[in-house]
């Protein structure tokens, strides 16, 4: 701001010519100066000649003219009909040669020390410069009509943002005295402006709008007032993208040695809302140090789309449908957030990948980095992995980056998840949290329906011991206990590595006891079996939710209970060993019987590198016994394949269960 407008400097040069007393030589006046130099301006080998009748021919040459980073060589100003009248120098038809030849007009009044200069470029582009140099002060006014902003590119610092196209019309007035610049008033309209930095990560195209600004000096600081109206055009300011205009900023403030202050500002972003703000921007690379922001009635949809989404690209919130309204008050001091108060009303967040959804969400979150605050958030309904969540309200206590909640529960299907002793904290920028709790009975019918699993019966309930999340990993200490199929399921050593990453990994140990085969087989249309089984899965590892490794074993539970296996179930089991075995049963005498007795069932699978190594209850010649017969009529099923590809086995299981699909009537 302090350095005067670049165009003001050649003016000084012109004035110098006028002020110096010329050397007169028979009808010709020649004047020469070796060097004129100032920090931003440099001219070498200057000469001026006046000749012709009444000295009407004027010619000035500058060998080398530098203005900031721009340099012109062999600059020439000629005027064929210069008029000299009562201390007025007037040139109506001059020519300025700056590499391209431009028509120039100027008038200089010696008495008032005023200069008026007009440059006419092709296509209706005009730049005008007026200046007056008086005793108390000076004035410079630059006006342009369709002025190409490209002409200013050379005066901007290297490596920053450069205009590449566009025009401006308007005026800039500078006032000053011997002590320097005193005030600046600018009023300009821009059209089709394009700008970009070298990396292309900050760029704009076809931008139209206006800037109005006036600033005046008070001792060591400047007071300014201005408004920027961005009416049209697109801009990309990594990672933000604004597709169109409609944005406006108006404000006032001050500019001190190294700080730009906004004491009162109003920012309107199209599609998002309006905010009152104030703040301080440290030049010299300190960036935004302080601000206060107050906004009411922000459109959450626009806020998410324009301002939040680009920053959430790598998170689970990268693809949301957002709705609702929000009020925000935000205090930021010395580079950190000290207080904020967020009010969210009637908001909705729906994941486009259908992983989760929250409807009718509201929140009131006051927050302070020093003091304790009471917050509350809640939603009317929601969904996680297709499981419906009911109305939930959670009071929160925040102490800086630490959050504590009293025990609360979230309705899940027809049951509920109880969350006890939830605490979360942010340490070194990473969140960690933990809680314990339980799952109050959820009917398996509802659960299987919602998860698009085959219809299962019974209830799902359990105790959730300590669940903790830190460093991107989710860990369950202790054992998760569920009751399903009239038996128990215990999940131990459960841990999830990078659950929100690209390749979530899960490891666990499962121990299921006394599962009712009748309930289980009817759920999966496997063919009816009666009895009870234990399932043990040790060292289960899932990568991207698909098993890569486990040692699984299915075996009849100890104890006395009826043991029956239907012909269809025998076929299903046999089909797992390949198509041939099932056909063999079909053809044999066994097809006369509907049900058989058995003594023991057992099948194990050790999965490694996509291959399942199978075994049964006991060895058989060249194979292993899967179903050991007992009672009348008895049946034994013997497997001969020890190694089956896991994918193939899944394929067979799918075929078996699908072939038998029919409604299950309980």
């Amino acid at each position: 701001m302090k350095s005067s407008w670049p165009w003001a400097l050649p003016v000084r040069a012109l004035i110098l010519f006028a002020l110096l007393s010329p050397v007169v030589q028979a009808g010709q006046i020649t004047l020469s100066v070796d060097d004129i130099s100032s920090p931003a301006f440099h001219a070498k080998a200057i000469s001026a000649t006046l000749d012709g009748p009444d000295f009407s021919r004027f010619e000035a040459r500058i060998g080398e003219l530098s203005l900031r980073d721009r340099t012109w060589r062999k600059v020439r100003l000629t005027c064929v009909k210069t008029q000299w009248n009562n201390g007025v120098i007037r040139c109506d038809q001059g020519e300025l040669d700056l590499g391209e030849k431009l028509p120039i007009r100027f008038v200089y009044q010696q008495q008032s020390k005023t200069l008026g200069l007009t440059l006419d470029f092709p296509h209706g582009e005009t730049w005008q410069l007026g200046s007056q140099w008086g005793k108390p002060g000076w004035k410079v006014r630059i006006e342009a009509r369709n002025g190409q902003v490209m002409r200013l590119a050379g005066f901007l610092p290297q490596g920053g943002i450069r205009p590449t196209a566009g025009t401006w019309s308007g005026s800039i007035s500078l006032d000053g005295s011997r002590t320097g610049l005193g005030s600046v008033i600018a009023d300009a309209v821009f059209k089709d402006i394009a700008f970009a930095d070298a990396s292309g990560l900050h760029a704009g195209e076809k931008i139209g709008g206006g800037v109005r600004c006036d600033a005046s000096r008070r001792k060591d600081s400047w007071l300014w007032r201005g408004e920027v109206d961005w009416k049209s055009g697109e801009a990309f300011w990594q990672p933000l993208y604004f597709a169109d205009g409609g944005h406006r900023f108006a404000g006032q403030g001050s500019l001190e040695a190294d700080t730009l202050r906004v004491s009162q500002g109003n920012l309107r972003l199209a599609g998002v809302g309006e905010a009152q703000l104030s703040g301080a921007w440290g030049t010299a690379g300190r960036g935004l140090t302080d601000f206060d922001l107050k906004a009411a009635g922000i459109d959450v949809a626009g806020l998410y789309k324009v301002l939040l989404k680009p920053f959430l690209e790598k998170t689970a919130f990268a693809k949301l449908q957002a709705k609702g309204a929000a009020d925000l008050a935000w205090l930021y001091r010395d580079g950190v957030t000290t207080d904020f108060d967020l009010n969210l009303r009637a908001a909705e967040f729906v994941d486009e990948d259908q992983r989760f959804a929250l409807h009718g969400m509201s929140a009131h979150i006051p927050w302070s980095n020093k003091e304790e605050r009471q917050a509350e958030l809640g939603f009317r309904s929601g969904e996680v992995l297709r499981l419906a969540l009911g109305e939930t309200r959670v009071p929160l206590t925040t102490r800086g980056w630490q959050i504590i909640t009293p025990d609360f529960s979230i309705p899940l299907l027809d049951g509920r998840i109880n969350v006890d002793g939830f605490t979360a904290s942010r340490i070194d920028g990473a969140w960690q949290w933990r809680f314990s709790g339980g799952l109050a009975p959820v009917s398996m019918e509802r659960f299987s329906e919602a998860s698009k699993l085959p219809l299962m019966h019974g209830t799902l309930s359990g105790i959730i011991p300590a669940v903790s999340y830190a460093g991107g990993n989710l860990k369950v200490d202790g054992a998760l206990l569920f009751k399903v199929f009239d038996g128990t399921v215990v999940v131990k050593d459960l841990s999830l590595l990078e659950p929100f990453g690209r390749v979530p990994r899960l490891s666990a140990t499962l121990d299921m006891r006394n599962l009712d085969l009748d309930l289980l087989t009817s759920a999966f249309s496997f063919g009816n079996m009666q009895g009870r089984i234990d399932v043990a899965v040790a060292g289960l590892e899932l990568s991207n939710w698909r098993p890569v490794k486990f040692d699984a074993k299915v075996a009849s539970s100890p104890g006395n209970y009826p043991k029956k296996i239907s012909q269809k179930a025998v076929q299903s089991i046999s089909s797992l060993g390949g198509a041939g075995a099932a056909a063999a049963i079909q053809r044999s005498f066994l097809s006369f019987f509907e049900q058989f007795g058995y003594d023991r069932i057992g099948l194990s699978c050790v999965l490694r590198n996509g291959v399942c190594m199978m075994d049964g209850v006991e060895p058989a010649p060249h194979g292993y016994v899967i179903v050991k017969g007992g009672g009348i009529p008895a049946i034994s099923v013997i497997g001969y394949n020890r190694e089956v590809s896991w994918d193939e086995l899944l394929e067979r299981l799918k075929r078996v269960t699908q072939k038998n699909v029919k409604p299950v009537i309980q």
Binding site: P239, Y241, N544, V548
Partner: protein, 140 residues
């Protein structure tokens, strides 16, 4: 003389060693995680191929990709391309990690990345941009 034969044997044996070692193992790359990474990368490649060809995006010397010249992408798509680059890099990092893990040697991740870095460049179409060892962009 026997000692000479013995030495010859040793030499032969030593010469064969690398072959024995390298012929011994094919790396395991058929895990479900690697499979799904390959699939998403393959789908994403349809969107990225044009940007490799235009020079907007190039292959880095550490087995990832980077925005080389954003100005070659229309403004409205720049953030989308940034997103593609970020997603691709996440997948590539995960891929190198998964291959190392699947073979029971998580510490191989860096060497697998280095190997991939060379192979991506080797297999890149001519006209695509990649970084040389010094990190400078060169056109293939």
């Amino acid at each position: 003389m026997y000692s000479q034969i013995l030495r010859l044997w040793m030499l032969v044996a030593l010469l064969w060693m690398p072959f024995l070692v390298f012929a011994a193992a094919d790396l395991e790359i058929n895990t479900p995680a690697i499979g799904s990474l390959k699939m998403t990368m393959q789908q994403r490649h349809d969107q990225l191929a044009g940007h490799y060809a235009s020079g907007a995006v190039g292959l880095t010397h550490d087995g990832l990709i980077a925005m080389r010249d954003a100005a070659l992408v229309p403004l409205a798509q720049r953030q989308a391309v940034n997103g593609l680059v970020a997603a691709e890099n996440q997948d590539r990092q995960a891929l190198y990690r998964e291959i190392a893990r699947a073979n029971g040697h998580p510490e191989w991740e860096e060497e697998i990345r280095t190997t991939f870095a060379q192979r991506w460049v080797q297999k890149a179409a001519s006209g695509w941009w990649h970084q040389n060892h010094a990190g400078a962009w060169v056109r293939k």
